[in-house]
């Protein structure tokens, strides 16, 4: 019997323009719970996609050995046949089918094409008992909560005789009680001989259940820590996750900070569909002229939800709290009111929320402020062209002309189009949500320069990011956001990656 159930050796995976993984090694022993840690973008999910065959053999370099044999997966089906099952953050359940149907989806218990319902439901209840779920197997998925859905996913994995279970951020959407139950279950499965890989941002959970931790940073393996042998503290893990060279990646700037422009008070937001779930808890936040303010939070902390709820209530329900511009309370009940009051929000997801990819550069630049180009409802096409061309030059948008489709531009250039759009709407405060996500290093530098330029023009810039070095490199002040709470506020002089990470992973005060 081989002790190492999994060995991934020298895995390198390249996307056009980006090296997502470089010579990554991962060794998992049979019967352990192995955690993988790293900042967003460190390569955790990519590594798991390589392992599970989402990226087929041949699309990456390196070698995977499972139970001692070298394996070459062509797709997920191949890896599942070997007993590797991955449970993604977004659950893959069909909401209007029953628990039992979901468990055996694609793997139905049938004779000559007809499903044996008695056996299906019987087997399903056995599996449900193993994961500690007492609901009837004929309950529909829509009728159970997210926590139970997660357990159904695990039951589904068990039905496939899983040997290695991969959980991607399993507790991100769960409340404390459900999280605790899930972690217990993982321990319980370990006793039954099932090996687990768990990707998590929650360091206290990792400390509670993991036997080993592998830390990834910038697509490389940094270290593997043995949680049983060494006394590894949360700070030790944080150090591994963030420690890197910060020099010369950010343009210099001398901040000239003026009056307060933007402030929110007691901002509380409820989840749009789950009644009673509070997403943002009474947030107070301000930004001054010429200031770059950072919001540091991990995925799922409520960063985007905070920004979008302020921006014309584009997210959430039951929103309470006040928004002030230049000290005066303003209404931001719709997006056009927010824009009218000088607020702009550049979304995290350019392609789905930021741009009309079917249209050219100039029409995207003018989209949020078409009124400025129009007389009596008719757009002045010449002026639009001239203005778009000015932005193309000043923002260094690399496109053949302003009549080029935005869908054909690179990520960095698309982001510059989004920024141009908001600059043309002439806001006082710009909220930039992950402005450099999916952008190569050179373009990142340009985006930082643009942010500096905006600040020097006397605008307040709020940058939301999960990349701490980025925030530390460009901000004057940083708020830490954890599970919908603003847990801390730091001047740039006091902020360190370790300190921020500590507040970003802080449990809410009991």
């Amino acid at each position: 019997m081989v002790t190492n159930i999994l060995e991934m050796r020298q895995i390198t995976k390249t996307f056009p323009g980006v090296k997502a993984l470089q010579d990554v090694n991962l060794t998992v022993q049979r019967g352990e719970v192995h955690a993988i840690c790293g900042e967003n973008g460190a390569g955790k999910s990519t590594l798991m996609k390589v392992l599970s065959g989402v990226y087929p053999h041949g699309s990456y370099d390196g070698e995977i050995a499972f139970e001692g044999d070298t394996v070459q997966f062509r797709d997920i089906g191949d890896s599942e046949a070997k007993g590797i099952v991955i449970i993604h953050q977004e659950l893959a359940l069909s909401p209007f089918l029953s628990i039992a149907e979901n468990i055996f989806l694609g793997n139905e218990i049938a004779t000559r094409g007809f499903i044996d319902w008695d056996k299906t439901n019987l087997e399903a209840s056995k599996l449900l008992a193993r994961v500690g779920l007492s609901d009837s197997p004929i309950t529909k998925i829509v009728d159970i909560g997210v926590g139970k859905q997660q357990l159904v996913e695990i039951a589904k994995a068990l039905s496939k005789e899983v040997k290695l279970l991969i959980l991607d951020e399993p507790t991100a959407a769960l409340n404390d009680e459900d999280s605790a139950h899930l972690l217990d279950l993982i321990k319980h499965l370990r006793e039954q001989g099932i090996t687990s890989i768990i990707i998590s941002h929650k360091l206290n959970e990792i400390k509670a259940i993991a036997d080993k931790v592998t830390i990834l940073r910038d697509g490389r393996t940094i270290e593997t820590l043995d949680m049983r042998a060494d006394d590894v503290s949360e700070d030790r893990i944080i150090k591994g996750m963030v420690g890197r060279d910060l020099e010369h990646r950010y343009p210099d700037r001398t901040p000239k900070i003026g009056e307060e422009i933007f402030r929110i008070e007691g901002w509380t937001v409820h989840h749009p569909s789950e009644a009673g779930r509070v997403v943002i808890h009474g947030a107070n936040l301000s930004a001054r002229a010429g200031e770059v303010v950072g919001i540091a939070g991990l995925m799922g902390a409520g960063r985007t939800e905070l920004a979008m709820s302020v921006f014309g209530r584009s997210y959430g329900k039951g929103i309470t709290g006040k928004v002030f511009m230049h000290g005066k309370e303003v209404r931001t009940r719709t997006v056009s009111e927010a824009i009218g009051n000088g607020i702009a929000y550049a979304t995290e997801d350019r392609k789905h929320f930021g741009l009309n990819l079917l249209e050219d550069v100039k029409r995207n630049v003018s989209m949020a402020a078409l009124g400025k180009l129009a007389k009596r409802g008719w757009v002045d096409g010449e002026k639009e062209f001239i203005i778009a061309n000015e932005y193309r030059k000043s923002m260094n948008i690399k496109a053949p002309s302003v009549s080029s489709l935005t869908g054909k531009l690179s990520g960095g250039n698309q982001q510059k189009v989004v920024l141009s759009k908001w600059m043309y709407s002439d806001p006082d405060v710009l909220i930039l949500d992950e402005p450099t996500r999916g952008i190569d290093v050179g373009a990142k530098y340009e985006i930082y320069t643009i942010i500096n330029r905006l600040a020097s023009e006397g605008k307040a810039v709020i940058v939301i990011s999960s990349e701490l070095p980025e925030l530390l490199g460009i901000c004057d002040r940083i708020y830490a956001l954890s599970e919908g709470h603003l847990t801390g506020e730091f001047g740039i002089a006091d902020a360190t990656p370790e300190l921020l990470m500590q507040y970003m992973t802080k449990e809410k005060e009991k």
Binding site: F311, G312, S314, T334, V335, S336, A338, I339, Y345, T347, H352, F353, G354, L355, N356, L357, L358, E359, R363, S366, M367, A368, L370, G371, A374, G377, W378, V379, G381, E382, F385, I386, N389, S401, V402, S403, G407, K421
Partner: protein, 398 residues
């Protein structure tokens, strides 16, 4: 050599837009040959225009709805309902013809507002709302008419569907009709060429022009040929009856709606809404209002189509306008509109509608059975959209 390469590259990049015009020309030539020249005679061209006018009017509104990412299945029923109401207004309520026409357009707007309300503000998919509308307004048509036809209509009312510009103004000779048609043709030509030249001049000024000069000249020459040819057939050729009134109505609608979609804030918002709903909303565009007014507009155009159709047949019947919606939708898609929204043009939809119209007419002239006509129209729609999909995939689009 480089110039040729440029030209080929340019044509390739605009294959879809140009392809539809070429397809129309090829179909016209094909049927001209197959029917031994009966297609392009004065009487027949006039017929093609009048017979397809209501579909083309519907296609204008339909392509806008489709660009926004919706669909409207109710336009045939709405056209029938409005035709019936106009009949009731004239024959039962004794309204003058012009009040009836005005009233019909208002009814169309109200019908559109009704459907727009459900789509935009309640959030029910347009497919469902207009499927319901198709049944509702067909039912109302039959209720209003009591399953009888209303006929005849006053002469003035009928002009919209079947009339010609001043046909009998100078009864002694045949020349005035010629001169009015020729005059209109020349005016249209001056307008179109002037618009093209102005647009090009402005683009050249800003260095935005990416169209090769040769292509621009070719385009102008084609436009001139088309307008002059039409003028000849409608006004000068033996058997010509002058310019159909509905052609002028259509011409005005095409010019207005083309500019609305290309240059107005509203038109831009329609493209933005269809191209990416979330991005449009997050850019402060009031997408619900856009949806609402699109349906109001569709209602008015459906009403106009109903008036034209009723006028042409000189009767309002319970079965009028059946399957108009499918012809209008097909015209929009053949004309290059995208099923997912965000892409399409008014002129494309008109061309798409004409392709179907010429196919219909040409096959009828050849004596081909209507069963085959349906089959061939279906194939044309399928192949046109398949060509689109293939083209998009080849250019590495989404």
């Amino acid at each position: 050599m480089a110039a040729i390469k440029d030209a080929v590259g340019f044509l390739g990049s605009r294959l879809r837009q140009i392809g539809i015009f070429i397809a129309l020309i090829v179909i016209v030539i094909l049927f001209q040959v197959l029917t031994d020249g009966r297609l392009l005679t004065a009487g027949n061209v006039s017929n093609i225009i009048v017979q397809n006018s209501y579909i083309l009017i519907l296609a204008i509104g339909m392509v806008m709805i489709i660009i926004a990412g919706h669909i409207d299945l109710s336009v045939g029923s709405v056209a029938a309902f409005v035709g019936a109401m106009s009949g009731v207004m004239i024959t039962q309520w004794g309204f003058p013809w012009w009040v009836a026409i005005l009233g019909s357009l208002i009814i169309g707007a109200l019908v559109g507002a009704w459907q727009g309300f459900w789509v935009a503000y309640v959030g029910i998919p347009a497919f469902i709302v207009t499927l319901a509308g198709m049944l509702i307004f067909r039912g109302l048509t039959q209720i209003v008419l009591g399953n009888r036809q209303i006929t005849p209509f006053p002469t003035e009312y009928r002009q919209l569907g079947g009339g010609f510009v001043f046909p009998n103004a100078f009864p002694a000779t045949s020349s005035p009709a010629e001169w009015i048609t020729v005059g209109l043709g020349v005016l249209a030509l001056i307008f179109l060429v002037g618009q093209q030249l102005r647009g090009r001049a402005s683009r050249v000024k800003h260095g935005l022009e990416d169209e090769p000069l040769a292509w621009f000249v070719t385009k102008l020459a084609f436009t001139a040929m088309l307008v002059l040819g039409l003028t000849y057939l409608l006004g000068i050729a033996p058997g010509s009856r002058g310019t159909p009134i509905v052609l002028i109505v259509l011409g005005v609608l095409v010019v207005i709606y083309s500019s609305v979609m290309a240059r107005s804030v509203f038109g831009r918002h329609v493209y933005a809404r269809g191209g990416n709903l979330h991005a449009a909303q997050l850019s402060g565009i009031k997408t619900q209002r856009v949806d609402f007014y699109l349906f109001v507009n569709m209602g008015v155009l459906a009403a106009l189509a109903g008036l034209v159709f009723t006028g042409r047949l000189n009767s309002a019947g319970p079965g009028a306008g059946n399957l108009f919606e499918l012809d209008a939708i097909a015209a929009a898609f053949i004309g290059g509109a995208a099923v997912t929204g965000g892409i399409g043009t008014v002129i494309g939809a008109i061309t798409g509608g004409l392709i179907m119209g010429v196919l219909n007419n040409g096959m009828s002239l050849m004596g081909i059975n209507t069963d085959y006509q349906q089959f061939i129209k279906g194939m044309v729609l399928l192949l046109a959209v398949a060509f689109d999909v293939f083209n998009k995939r080849r250019s590495g689009g989404r």
